[in-house]
Subunit: 337 residues, 4 copies
Amino acid sequence: MEQIGFGLIGAGVIGRVHARNVAARADAQLRWIVDIDPARGGELAAAYGARFTVSVDEMLADPAVQVVMIGSSTDVHEAHLLACVRAGKALLCEKPIADSLERARNCLDAARAANTIAAVGFNRRFDPQHLAVHDRVRAGEIGTVESIHIVSRAADAPQPAAAQRAGGMLREKGTHHYDLAYWLARSEPVEIYAAGGCLFDPGFATYGDVDTAALTLRFASGALATFSFSRRTAYGCDESIEVFGSKGMLQSRAPRPRSISLYQGGRVIDDGIDGHWYDRFASTYVAELDALIAAVRAGVAVEPTLVDGMRAQAIAEGAVESLTRGVPVQIANVWQA
Amino acid sequence: MEQIGFGLIGAGVIGRVHARNVAARADAQLRWIVDIDPARGGELAAAYGARFTVSVDEMLADPAVQVVMIGSSTDVHEAHLLACVRAGKALLCEKPIADSLERARNCLDAARAANTIAAVGFNRRFDPQHLAVHDRVRAGEIGTVESIHIVSRAADAPQPAAAQRAGGMLREKGTHHYDLAYWLARSEPVEIYAAGGCLFDPGFATYGDVDTAALTLRFASGALATFSFSRRTAYGCDESIEVFGSKGMLQSRAPRPRSISLYQGGRVIDDGIDGHWYDRFASTYVAELDALIAAVRAGVAVEPTLVDGMRAQAIAEGAVESLTRGVPVQIANVWQA
Amino acid sequence: MEQIGFGLIGAGVIGRVHARNVAARADAQLRWIVDIDPARGGELAAAYGARFTVSVDEMLADPAVQVVMIGSSTDVHEAHLLACVRAGKALLCEKPIADSLERARNCLDAARAANTIAAVGFNRRFDPQHLAVHDRVRAGEIGTVESIHIVSRAADAPQPAAAQRAGGMLREKGTHHYDLAYWLARSEPVEIYAAGGCLFDPGFATYGDVDTAALTLRFASGALATFSFSRRTAYGCDESIEVFGSKGMLQSRAPRPRSISLYQGGRVIDDGIDGHWYDRFASTYVAELDALIAAVRAGVAVEPTLVDGMRAQAIAEGAVESLTRGVPVQIANVWQA
Amino acid sequence: MEQIGFGLIGAGVIGRVHARNVAARADAQLRWIVDIDPARGGELAAAYGARFTVSVDEMLADPAVQVVMIGSSTDVHEAHLLACVRAGKALLCEKPIADSLERARNCLDAARAANTIAAVGFNRRFDPQHLAVHDRVRAGEIGTVESIHIVSRAADAPQPAAAQRAGGMLREKGTHHYDLAYWLARSEPVEIYAAGGCLFDPGFATYGDVDTAALTLRFASGALATFSFSRRTAYGCDESIEVFGSKGMLQSRAPRPRSISLYQGGRVIDDGIDGHWYDRFASTYVAELDALIAAVRAGVAVEPTLVDGMRAQAIAEGAVESLTRGVPVQIANVWQA
């Protein structure tokens, strides 16, 4: 089978994940790493036998590059995405699509006009458990979706300054989970309410951010999603979903890698949940790449789409506004029509 | 041991539970059943060898009655409670204390002035699991409480008309769970937001009620509680609590009465959760009575108190207002000083 | 409904359980307690409003006694059972039926000739979990039974001397579980092998007994049951069953009374299993009595029968012989024909 | 880091597993594949860039080969192992070491005399769960080991003829689990009793084999291990261990890859256990290789040793004899002194 050529923009944490996964495939070739930092980018390129450049245009000029992974910083997403569209490349863009809804819409319009195969990096959709729950909900196993509860608590908190550069918790962490909720409810979001505060690290408040939050999202169908977020736990990476429907309830719980129990005294002590997000979600990046490559080969669209990305981004903006104003916020539907 | 004499006002569902539990004890004597319906009240009295009367005063005039259980309809709670206070009886009043916060405050003031031993019927606090979680939280096992999630979903929905007479879901079901959240957080509630709708039975809307709701309660400490309510499930009585703290997380899950598993194909099929609220909570009414009798014997106050009752009732009023107005509502502290 | 009159022989541990359960029923009347010890028997009789006698015959002479529970010491079981048969009473006899297989057979023949309704006290069959597993196995849910594994470990070890008076572990504990295995396999036992030793208390060896054992029982169908016995655990009363069949596997696990979890560090700590046999099995004695009373009212036979009792007793004798001789022992079928 | 050169004898199922794992490492080089079938061996060699030969001697003559993996058929294990020893290579030999205890002893003596680093392929010891249980037992967490129960049931039965060529179930499957039991009990085995039969496929009987077995193994310490084996299940690869000790009980259960639950009706339906042995045990072959390479680099002995291999093989021979004769068999200690 002919290999599909890949270019990768951004040699940060997520860029290194994509580089490893693309390089490991027999059906793909990692041709270019692009980064503003030649040291870090060059090292990554060398590790996987790719070429390095600081120039997105040089990479795009390579006709063997069919797909570009955009893992650069958010402020240059729009420029990079539009360049890929103009160059006729398929792409996967990390979320958020751009640093404003207007720019995200601009990206969406351009990609549509060019009929670009464009995915957004919502890797959570490829979690084997979440995906199985989704497929079973779609198959009608629990009837009509009435409510959803999503817990997302990282093992370790980031530095407040770094967290704020990534948009704050309600955007950075939240976007993944608003998208999951939509994906499970399959109804457009109409209103969001966000409550939050700094329960353990006032450093987040310095940046206008929170370390703990509870959100309520209402969908057009009437279904309600609640979200419980924390920046850290004392027990590992806790991400779970509960979908309640008219005919039953489905759970995707935080997995426990080992099935060991100690019976002693009045207690049963089991090994706990995964400690690190990467242990939990490593397989999702591979599955996301599988889907992208299959779409490129078939020449068809791929989910999650730029529309999915914009929707979640619009919910995030609503959440931030709600947190600031202290009231529920209507979500302007900027991702359709 | 000398038996403590009991009078019971109200021979409805909850009255029958109390009658059975009082009558079964060696340390208590069920002396009177009071009800407006002689047929139903007389039958209950006969079943347990108690006297029947339609007159609260006749029952209160019996000097051997030391404790009164008030299980009448809410609109006469205040009158019954005040009469008990005047008659110098200890009492347990089912929630809500009265049909307005003003009347509840009136009850509270009267009981305080008379130094009455007065409990509110928040039986959930006596659930062995919830209680163990509470005690461990209090003992500091999970550090500072940061967030709480409470699921409450009954097995079967009531008739909308009956449900509305009981105050609607946010009052009837909610009061128990607002109290649980306070009890676990040990911080005064300051704000509530309620979202809800009729997801499966528009009949509730006819009465201004909802069948599904998601609520967010903020405490003075900054801790956040979320609530996920439904009027019915397709799988039994689902009530669970998760308390997340700085040093760990504690769960009180919906119990499964039988530990049976079938391994077959790609699945493991277990017996599910309790089908009926009474199966789940029968023991709580006995434990509640234990605590009341112990307090009466010792002549000391008993939890949950009328203050607990008023606080939860005030949160419920805030929840109803929030649902109506669509915004978070500050909770006026009417239960203190 | 007319009450059925009961006589109870034996005021020891099991006698007190039966006395409590019979006395608590509206459809039964506990008329007599018979015991060789007037102090202990008289006290029990007084507690439940029954008459006391040291004479089995005096009790049997009461025409209102329809059913006798035989909870005396094993060496007088035969005499008591035969007397009940002669007096035309229905009966439930605690296991073993008699202190030799010949005497047990004598009991069986007499009860058969008289068409006596006679049950053996294999209360484990009435454990809600074991019973549900049994019914599902019988319904064909796991196909043909191929192997069974039964764990039985008490929370606390008895005194070696007392244990030996009760027949030793392979008889006392074992009989219940051999019967369970037969009941699940529904095939006659043909061979047993017992290995065991004193792993923690050499005191048992003084009496020719063991504190730990592993047994293998072969059925005529070819199915194999293994048993893992211990006299004590460091974590409660551990009794569980696994039935493996051609179409699946069913487990009845040691129940955990509370569904509580603490997530902390790399561990999840749950509340453990029931600490005491009575907490685990209290309901079985009530259900056993339900079945007996229903059979007496209907005038039909009741399971587990004297044949069930003899079969398990024959397996136990084989187990003891196997332990002594160190080889598998063929089980002579003395319970049929 | 310098790469360690590997030669692999045998290009069957297990050979392909080893080839993949060696070839994937940066610290090892797969230099040779040896097989009697040039087509199958050549193909495997080509896939991983190794050289192919039908001659063990040609491979052993390569001075860059430091380690040999022996995955040939059992009848030539001895010849291959002795040749490796003579050639001064470290080795890992799949179990059994040889087709008789005498030949296995011959291998052991030769390897000892030459101070060869020699491992036996008991990959189960490297299962993360089993290993954690082992380490915790060794650390004294459950006190003295009193009994062990091991379940091993494959998802799908092999062809009877092929199974018999591999030595029959009590040798092929059993050897792994006898070794696990020894490893956990840390006491020498003294006696084994095996019961078994053809419960679902009489084809195994044609070859003197069984498809279902129950075994009891007694250790010098008095501890007892029971084993429940089946050739197939209707629900995946079921391998679990329970270790019962004086201070508690540890379980290593069959892992369930996904933590999904459906609550519906009176049931909770979870995703089941791993379907295939390779899914369950893939990581063990990598960990086994890690240990071997570390030992070769350090020039030290590696567990499981040839002594471990002989011990398990001696137990297996005892089990087969016990099955044939129908009595427990003393295990001659041929692996020590």
